[in-house]
């Protein structure tokens, strides 16, 4: 079977799983059928969706970023403090800057020093958590800025919350970057074979640095949406996001090790996790069981993918 046919099969499988779960939920649970609930899913997946789109880029390039939850939390805390201090609009560039700095650190460690990405981003995890915890002192940061909350999460436009529209904007941006720019083509090529890409004269180091930095900046946005939704910030606000993002990307068929994956497919993965979370929650399956299911799902999907591709030539 050609790789493209395999990919199509995977798409079908994923879409089928999604339809099956949705149908089951529709039949089994009246609460799920409630239009308000269905609309709510869109809002709930905003944060996960943005993180998963960024993670798709990183994994597609053959790397990983374990720091995104901590970085988003740090950005959230800093922004909430800025808002509480009455800095107004300046909070927005500050949030983006916090994310960007950590992204740059990740990129620099990987590109300039050759640190494995899972270690480099673990270092950033530490530092970002440190910043968030130190600034909050374990407290919840409250702030009052209705314009901000409205802009990033609670405001309504065309019947959907603004958080949803941010998700749409990021998806459009990422689809465009990946499918319609030379940069996206380079990301894909580097993920396919970094050495061959270098021999072909592609700017491998620059592209990697840019992807990590872009991911960081998007975590600034995630941080803002996070606090806008709930109106306060905690140091561990987005911890665990890295896992859900990897889960969504991998379930969406992004191949660990790089080279294969797409944003629309990741969107399916996000939707699957979103519906799963929502449905399980409605059926009173608690958050923790959801974690177990997601954990098993990720490992299972990776195993099946590995198995489908046949044994790699390991001696």
């Amino acid at each position: 079977m050609s790789a493209r046919a395999t990919a199509r099969m995977a798409d079908l499988g994923l879409a089928f799983a999604l339809v099956a779960i949705v149908t089951a939920l529709l039949i089994l649970n009246p609460a799920f059928r409630d239009p308000a609930n269905l609309m709510g899913i869109g809002r709930q997946v905003a944060i996960l969706g943005i993180a998963a789109a960024a993670m798709t880029f990183v994994i597609l390039m053959g790397e990983i970023d374990l720091s995104i939850g901590a970085v988003a939390s740090a950005a959230a805390v800093v922004t909430a403090l800025a808002l509480a201090q009455g800095w107004g609009v300046w909070a927005i560039p500050i949030a983006l800057a916090v994310g960007t700095v950590f992204g740059l650190l990740n990129g620099a460690l990987v590109v300039a020093l050759g640190v494995p990405a899972f270690i480099a981003t673990l270092v950033s995890f530490f530092l970002a958590q440190g910043v968030a915890l130190t600034l909050t002192g374990g407290q919840t940061i409250l702030f009052a800025a209705d314009w901000f909350r409205s802009l990033f999460a609670t405001g309504s436009f065309l019947g959907q919350r603004s958080a949803f529209w941010w998700l749409v904007a990021v998806f459009v941006l990422m689809v465009w970057l990946l499918a319609r720019t030379r940069f996206g083509a380079q990301v894909r090529a580097i993920g396919g074979d970094a050495e061959a890409s270098a021999m072909l004269g592609l700017p491998v180091a620059r592209v990697k640095l840019m992807v990590f930095t872009l991911t960081g900046a998007l975590m600034g946005l995630v941080g803002m949406i996070l606090i806008a939704r709930i109106g306060n910030a905690r140091a561990d606000g987005a911890i665990g996001l890295e896992f859900d993002a990897i889960a969504a990307a991998v379930i969406g068929g992004t191949r660990l090790g790089g080279g294969y994956g797409s944003i629309p497919r990741t969107a399916l993965g996000v939707l699957l996790i979103g519906v799963l979370n929502n449905g399980l929650a409605i059926m009173n399956v608690d958050f923790n069981t959801q974690q177990v299911i997601k954990g098993a799902l990720v490992v299972g999907v990776v195993l099946i993918d590995r198995w489908a591709r046949g044994k790699g030539g390991t001696t």
Binding site: G114, V123, L127, L133, T134, L303
Partner: protein
């Protein structure tokens, strides 16, 4: 490359290697010196004992992590698995199972979980950070599911005494356990066929395979050993808290990895030492302890640890002659 540049690079590498090797010792001396100076409570036997019992869990996990990183792998699930196993332990005892049997069962469970990590990683040919990230989610979730999100108190005093309060030759039992594990890991790495082969395996898996090293079996074994150490760590943790708490301890995973990296391990495998990890873990334990004594913002420890790891990572890469 010109000869001058090559010489200069060699000099940088040597300097970085020296600093890398000195880092855990120098940092430890500095930190101990500072705390001794800043707090009158730091340098006394009682505090030392508390430091040891508090950090025993970290030490055990860090020893296991040393071997995992020696292979060029990682285990992100340890913090969550410690939580899960401590909960299982508490529940077994609450259900009337005697403590020796409960400990044994938990040990087996730990080895099983470690073995599962190893089998999926090695036979499935999947990066260990994904396998263990998945295991982390599963273990965290299970710990809460099993307990219904509440801590389970441990009522068997014999267990609490043995794993926390008791003394042997005047020293607390957890210290003996740590020393025992340290000795066992040291012996395994330096005095057994399997241990010797791990160094070759971590440095160059293909060359090791060509030398007849049974690569898969050795790798899975290391994950099993990691699981056993995690299980013992869970017993110590449960005894210290007097209960099994489902709240995962992500800080434990990070601290363990930090200890190994500060100990100068090569990030791609092939070079790691239990003795230096011990120093790295001691540094982190002292930091945790001293900052509480000084009443400084306990949260700043993340930044300080983060910066130390950053330094360690940079030195290690420079010493390895990265690009």
């Amino acid at each position: 490359m010109t000869t001058v540049a090559a010489l200069r690079m060699a000099r940088t590498r040597r300097a970085a290697a020296l600093l890398r090797d000195l880092l855990p010792y120098a940092a430890l001396v500095l930190v101990v010196g500072y705390f001794a100076f800043a707090s009158e409570f730091f340098l006394n036997t009682r505090n030392f004992e508390r430091l040891v019992t508090d950090s025993a869990t970290l030490m055990l996990v860090a020893f296991g992590m040393t071997m995992v990183i020696l292979l060029g792998e990682i285990d992100l699930s340890v913090g969550a698995v410690v939580a899960l196993l401590s909960v299982i332990l508490a529940q077994l005892m609450a259900a009337g199972v005697g403590w020796p049997l409960a400990v044994l069962l938990v040990l087996l469970a730990g080895m099983g979980i470690g073995g599962l990590n190893g089998v999926i990683t090695v036979l499935g040919d999947i990066p260990s950070f994904i396998t263990t990230l998945g295991m982390m989610a599963i273990a965290t979730g299970l710990a809460f599911v099993v307990t219904g999100s509440v801590s389970v108190a441990i009522m068997q005093d014999r267990f609490l005494d043995l794993f926390y309060d008791d003394r042997l030759l005047g020293l607390p039992v957890p210290l003996w356990i740590v020393l025992g594990a340290f000795g066992a890991c040291g012996l395994y790495l330096n005095r057994t066929v399997a241990g010797h082969e791990l160094f070759a395996l971590g440095a160059n898996q293909k060359a090791a395979a060509l030398s007849g090293v049974p690569v898969k079996r050795r790798k899975i074994t290391v994950f099993v050993i990691m699981g056993a150490l995690v299980a013992i760590a869970a017993c110590l943790s449960a005894a210290r808290l007097g209960s099994g708490a489902p709240g995962s301890v992500p800080a434990l995973t990070l601290d363990a990895i930090a200890a190994v990296i500060i100990g100068g391990a090569n990030l791609f495998g092939g070079r790691a030492f239990v003795s230096r990890t011990l120093m790295g873990a001691a540094l982190i334990a002292v930091l945790n302890n001293g900052m509480v004594l000084l009443n400084v913002n306990i949260d700043a420890q993340y930044i300080i640890k983060g910066l130390i790891i950053l330094l360690a990572v940079v030195l290690e890469r420079l010493a390895a002659g990265a690009r």
